[in-house]
């Protein structure tokens, strides 16, 4: 069976720098695959390319056998690919609940009639029962998703997101992504800036998501966690894939050790690709 996500020879250049260089990787249904590598390796750029926020110079991205590398971000979201952002991008002035409901935007059916924007406006102004029921159901679902994070977010349903702690914003972002009912969830450094307790908590949540059968593509710097969670790991450096395999195989790969501990030739220029 073909993998859910297949990336072939994906390339992105910024001026003279090749941030992602003929990258190949794939993620099978139900797998948790991690992208690791030093800062500037091209991990986030890869996320941006797959999620449609950036355009590749060349290469292919196939999702469920369908080419998606030319699709806009909103179309890709409609295919049920969800992502989070490295630095956390919650909607600051929306409540916690509304943030999650935006995640469920693509699931709105009654509220977004096929007839077009004018019909959508009229339906919103009239508010027929179907729309209200759909809304109520999504709210229940959103609360269930937030409950995954224990008492972190549920007591703060009506709080604006700007009032949340950094760690809670990261959690909210994941909750928002889950509300899309993703077939593929892309997490960009979900534990960045978290203390060890919070990191362990997040690891447990990601582990639960994996066990529930969700396909996950993860970028993470905390290697212990990566090794424990991942089915497979791809190691990137300077936009290129330098190793791939099971966590144990990758850990001992000399190329990986060099990438993390420094290049053998002192003073070799390294491209500072925009992460």
């Amino acid at each position: 069976m073909a993998a859910l996500l297949q990336v072939r020879a994906l390339t992105r250049r910024f001026g003279g720098v090749t941030a992602v260089d003929a990258l190949d990787f794939e993620v099978a249904e139900g797998e948790l695959v991690s992208l690791i590598g030093p800062n500037g390796a091209g991990k986030t750029t890869t996320f941006n390319l797959v999620s449609g926020l950036d355009r590749a110079a060349s290469g292919e991205v196939l999702f469920d056998g369908r080419r998606i590398e030319r699709l806009a971000a909103e179309k890709i979201a409609a295919l049920r690919i969800a992502r989070t952002f490295q630095h956390g991008r919650v909607f600051a002035n929306l409540s916690v609940l509304d943030n999650v409901l935006i995640g469920a935007h693509t699931r709105l059916k009654a509220a977004r009639p096929k007839l077009g924007p004018i019909a959508e406006l009229l339906v919103a102004l009239v508010g027929p029962r179907g729309v209200r029921e759909e809304q109520a159901q999504l709210v229940e679902d959103a609360k269930a998703i937030l409950a995954r994070f224990g008492d972190r977010l549920t007591p703060r349903l009506d709080h604006p997101a700007y009032s949340l702690s950094y760690a809670n914003r990261r959690r909210l972002e994941i909750a928002r992504a889950l509300a899309l009912r993703p077939r593929l969830l892309m997490l960009d450094e979900p534990t960045a800036g978290m203390n060890p307790t919070e990191t362990a908590e997040m690891e447990a949540i990601i582990g639960d998501l994996k066990r529930s059968g969700l396909t996950i593509l993860l970028i993470e710097h905390k290697l212990d966690m990566v090794m424990r969670l991942s089915d497979r790991v791809y190691v990137l450096d300077d936009g290129k894939r330098i190793a791939a395999g099971r966590p144990a195989e990758v850990r001992d790969d000399p190329a990986v050790i060099e990438a993390y501990l420094g290049h053998s030739r002192i003073g070799e220029t390294r491209a500072e690709a925009a992460e």
Binding site: L53, E74, R89, H105, P117, L121, A124, L125, P160
Partner: protein, 607 residues
């Protein structure tokens, strides 16, 4: 052929004048990240200082020039210190709004001190002309070329070779890094405002001498022209601003040659929109992607909105409806009727600029479209106002949305500039499309509102009608904001990138917001047209757009009750105290300045 040369010379000379303006705007944008809407006011003040020096002190030209430069430099430094420096670290739109408030204040002060009547600036130059080809060049042309080239040379030398010039360039590249390296960025800002304002003032003086005519109304157009030139060259790019100015000058000059004077500004703004849509970074801005910083375009201060209890709102509404039974003064009812109509526009603005975060400086154009649609249908086609008013609302919704549509991918300052230009373009099209709109003559004899043979003409009836419309729109807008559309609009306001990543089709929702807002503003314009019975291209001008912005900010961006309150305060109170019109604008400017500085969340809080 000769006339072609004349038009070329004329275009280059005007381009030189624009360049003096635009270079200042570019410098300010470079270091302060700000489109300075008060720049035209400084230019006007420069012209008036020059006029006063020549008229009262009989100063020779070099002395006049020095006086103007010094006075405007001082004014620029003052503006920076008092109005803008306290706003550092605020939403990026905040200083821009402050400069709009400043421009209201400065322009009205000029008008109060020097009277609104135009003045002549004697150039006192010999009247020989050098013939070249079939055209000719006069001493004024040479003087303008000389002054602007000298200024450009001095500016280049300053930026290239002086220590402060280095600091300016460093600050423009990376403000924080420059600060870390010990550059006094406040001093740099001050210096840049002084230099930019001196150049702007000189530009005003030269224009005054060239046309032998100055008036307080020249300020706004000057700002706009400077902005056009800067956008063409790539915002923040000084040499780009000069090239952009010359392109603008030539385009206008050839445009006048081909189509006539009234088309001049149409060309300028069409050029602006073309660049914003096709090449938003300008000719020299490079291809850097306009990056998506969250929360840069919106003016939403994180704050809790004041929640008024529902019974209070209901009581106020009932009181408003009952008022005509107690207050019989038709004047009071008329003032409040105007406030209700203004509130409809403020509601529309608070939806697009507050809820959806797309700062619109062109809301009056939607009123103009609605007003013309209804007025023309009623007068030229005999349609009953009962039908023409809703049709006008639809026309404003559709045409307005279609006009802004190309600008939907713009953000922050750019969308503000684009909507301002679109507003101007609508006015200019109305002016020039004589066969359809009656051009500058306007539409006269617009019939009063009527339905089923009953004419709505008494002050009471009109009051009730407008109030009922306002309440209906407010309720609809409340429903809209509480629906998934409201949520979606707030999401795209806060972070377009994150919204897209969750499947939100940005353009679709912006179109819904502009469409809904356009309908309300269009109906307000249409009703106004039937009440005024006369309408021309200046009835709904950019000043009204900016007033709507002030109302929405006063009430609290995105806040429905706030928009109504803002309209009542800004339209009702000055009328109630019978302020003369020029004082009213002055008050609007001061209100805007104070709000941006001390209460950005407005009276009732942003939503």
């Amino acid at each position: 052929m000769g006339s072609f040369l004349d038009y070329t010379v004329n275009g280059l000379v005007i381009g030189d004048v624009y360049a003096l303006l635009a270079v200042g705007l570019a410098l300010i944008f470079g270091v302060a990240n700000l489109v300075n809407f008060a720049h035209g006011s400084v230019y006007t003040i420069g012209a008036y200082v020059g006029w006063a020096a020549i008229t009262y002190l009989h100063t020779p030209f070099p002395v006049t020039l020095a006086i103007v430069a010094l006075a405007c430099a001082a004014l620029g430094a003052l503006i920076e210190r008092l109005a803008l420096r306290p706003l550092q670290g605020r939403a990026r739109i905040a200083p821009l709004l402050a400069t709009i408030g400043l421009s209201f204040v400065l322009d009205q002060l000029v008008q109060l001190v020097c009277s609104p009547n135009p003045r002549a600036v004697p150039a006192e130059l010999p009247d020989w002309r050098i013939p070249i080809g079939g055209g000719s060049i006069g001493p004024m042309d040479l003087l303008i070329a000389f002054v602007s080239l000298t200024s450009a040379g001095l500016l280049y030398g300053f930026l290239r070779f002086t220590k402060l010039g280095y600091a300016v360039r460093a600050t423009a590249q990376d403000r924080e890094a420059a600060r870390q390296m010990g550059v006094n960025v406040d001093a740099v800002n001050s210096a840049v405002f002084a230099i930019a304002s001196a150049l702007g003032g000189i530009s005003g003086l030269l224009v005054g001498m060239y046309y032998n005519h100055i008036d307080p109304g020249m300020s706004f157009q000057a700002t706009l022209k400077g902005v056009v030139a800067v956008v063409i060259g790539g915002i923040g790019n000084v040499p780009g601003a000069i090239v952009g100015s010359l392109i603008l000058g030539l385009t206008e000059s050839y445009g006048i040659a081909l189509f006539g004077t009234t088309y001049r500004n149409l060309f300028a703004f069409a050029l602006l929109i073309l660049f914003l849509v096709l090449l938003p970074n300008g000719l020299f801005g490079g291809r850097k992607v306009i990056d998506a910083e969250p929360l840069t375009g919106s003016f939403i201060a994180p704050s809790r909105a004041l929640k008024l209890p529902a019974p209070l709102i209901a009581a106020l509404t009932v009181a408003a409806f009952a008022l005509p039974f107690f207050a019989t003064s038709p004047y009071l009812l008329q003032v409040l009727t105007n406030a209700w109509l203004a509130a409809l526009v403020a509601l529309s603005l608070t939806l697009v600029s507050g809820t959806a975060g797309q700062m619109s400086f062109g809301q009056a154009a939607l009123m103009a479209i609605g007003a013309y649609a209804s007025a023309l249908l009623a007068t030229d086609y005999g349609v009953s106002p009962l039908l023409s008013v809703p049709v006008a609302g639809l026309a404003a919704a559709l045409i307005g949305t279609a006009l802004v549509f190309p600008a939907f991918r713009l953000r922050g300052h750019y969308i503000a500039i684009a909507t301002l230009a679109i507003g101007e373009i609508v006015g200019l099209v109305i002016l020039n499309w004589e066969s359809f709109t009656h051009g500058a003559l306007g539409v006269t004899g617009i019939p009063p509102l009527s339905a089923f043979g009953y004419e709505v003409t008494s002050a009471r009836a009109v009051y009730w009608l407008c109030l009922a419309l306002l309440v209906a729109f407010a309720l609809l807008q409340m429903r809209l904001i509480n629906s998934h559309i409201g949520r979606t609009l707030k999401a795209l306001r806060d972070d377009e990138v994150a919204a897209r990543s969750h499947g939100v089709e940005i353009s679709r929702y912006k179109a819904i917001a502009f469409g809904f807002a356009g309908f309300g503003a269009g109906v307000s314009g249409a009703i106004s047209a039937h009440l005024f019975s006369y309408l021309n291209n200046q009835t709904f001008d950019s000043q009204l757009s900016l007033l709507a912005v002030t109302m929405a900010i006063l009430g609290g961006m995105g806040n429905i009750l706030g928009a109504i309150l803002g309209a009542v305060v800004l339209v009702g109170l000055p009328e109630a105290f019978r302020f003369a019109a020029e004082y009213r604008i002055l008050i609007y400017g001061v209100v805007l300045l104070l709000l941006v500085r001390f209460r950005p969340q407005g009276l009732l809080g942003t939503v």
